[in-house]
């Protein structure tokens, strides 16, 4: 029997792989739900802080915070890159990095320098490899990322912007559209994009404690943190969705492979039997 034993070993090993991939698929499927719930939980805070920001911009039109003012010349661009800690999630990270590289190349051709803050191990490994300056890093955020774990990395970028070391900050992450599709997006974080409601009806102002600048600074910082936090959660949901799809495909491929190999195995077995019978018949005829 030609290679019968080898084929059965192969089939068994693929069966084991299939068990692993289908388990991973089911785990990811349940995690998508949880990460979507997390995303929904952060929505009220985002809504409220946006409302407060709106009120603030109307109340104090004469004071402009540095974060709201664009620079004339862009010498250095900062990227906050949200990636995953683990692999096996299809082309999720690769597609994201491709987009970043294209954008970085564009800025470099204009003579601007680039710098990155990486969230997640995949981004740090990739951008270290191609020698991009990494200003700060955070990883192991887990299934329930805490905003406290991100504060440090965000502050590094904000400080650099304040000191005019960086003139433009982008945030890059995978947006969760639905289970089947995740879209890499690049959004401008600083300077804050202009708000559209510019008609000031009546002039009024808050009583500030301690003072307007400090408060505005706190509110804007919290706003940016909430923004980045939301991006991390979007990316987390995308990661699980992408992993589920990748594992689903892998499970299906394993099934197909097993079917093919079983066919080969049966053919080989049948050939061996036929050969044996013809040998016996041939032997009997010779006697």
């Amino acid at each position: 029997m030609a290679g019968g034993k080898e084929i059965t070993t192969k089939i068994r090993s693929i069966e084991n792989t299939r068990k692993v991939t289908s388990a991973l698929e089911m785990v990811s499927a349940s995690k998508i739900r949880k990460s979507q719930d997390l995303m929904a939980e952060t929505r009220p805070y985002a809504k409220m802080i946006r409302r407060v920001m709106g009120h603030l911009s109307k109340a104090r039109p004469e004071y402009r915070h540095p974060f709201t003012m664009g620079r004339e010349q862009t010498n250095k661009v900062g990227y906050i890159i949200v990636s995953t800690d683990r692999g096996l999630c299809g082309g999720l990270n690769t597609n994201l990095f491709k987009m970043i590289l294209a954008d970085m190349a564009e800025w470099k051709s204009k003579g601007a320098d680039v710098s990155a803050v990486t969230l997640g191990k995949k981004a740090s490994a990739f951008f270290k490899n191609i020698k991009v300056d990494i200003a700060a890093h955070a990883s192991d955020l887990g299934e329930k990322p805490q905003i406290e774990d991100l504060i440090g990395s965000i502050k590094v970028m904000l400080d650099a912007y304040r000191k005019e070391e960086i003139d433009l900050v982008y945030i890059v992450y995978n947006r969760f559209e639905n289970t089947m599709s995740q879209k890499p997006v690049l959004e401008q974080l600083l300077p804050l994009p202009e708000t559209d409601d510019d008609e000031v009806q009546d002039i009024w102002d808050y009583i500030y404690e301690p003072d307007a600048e400090t408060l505005l600074d706190t509110v804007i910082t919290r706003y940016i943190e909430a923004d980045v936090y939301h991006a991390v959660l979007e990316n987390l949901a995308s990661e699980h969705a992408a992993r589920m799809i990748a594992m689903k495909n892998a499970t299906e491929n394993a099934g197909e492979l097993i079917d093919e190999l079983t066919l080969v195995f049966n053919k080989a077995r049948q050939a061996a039997i036929t050969q044996e019978i013809s040998e016996i018949v041939g032997g009997a005829a010779a006697v």
Partner: protein, 142 residues
């Protein structure tokens, strides 16, 4: 007066209130309807919401921002105490992690440094104190 208390992770409280007592940065604040517009940072502690029927709801916060409008109060609560030196130490550690990535010495040990421990201690003490105050008040009323 509409009162909304939100933290990064959830809506903590949302409803009508006739009085709100909050630990403002410059002292305790008592807010009744038609208060002048006010905005201030909050210290770690308890925000007490008194509902129209006199029921008191205490909400523990780790600091944050309060925005008072004549008919609306919004509390943006931080889930943990934040202070300048806390943020500084967090930033420093993020930079150190980046350095480790670059050097390729990715050690798993990431100890808490003193600034952080101090803040956490302060946070805990403040919250305990607020809880204690509230408990005493409840007993007092009995």
């Amino acid at each position: 007066m509409q009162c909304d208390i939100v933290s990064a992770r959830k809506t903590v409280y949302s409803g009508e209130a006739k009085l709100i007592v909050a630990p403002g940065a410059a002292g305790e604040l008592g807010i009744t309807p038609r208060h002048a517009p006010l905005m201030t940072t909050l210290l770690p502690g308890a925000v007490r919401v008194i509902e129209p029927d006199g029921k008191e709801v205490p909400v523990l916060i780790g600091g944050g921002i309060i925005e008072v409008m004549p008919h609306m109060v919004t509390v943006l609560a931080d889930s943990a105490a934040r202070a300048h030196d806390f943020d500084e130490s967090a930033a420093r550690r993020a930079k150190e992690r980046a350095q480790r990535v670059i050097d390729g010495t990715g050690g798993a040990s990431e100890g808490m440094d003193i600034a952080e421990a101090k803040i956490m201690l302060k946070d805990t003490i403040e919250q305990l104190r607020a809880l204690d105050r509230w408990r005493k008040q409840v007993e007092h009323r009995k």
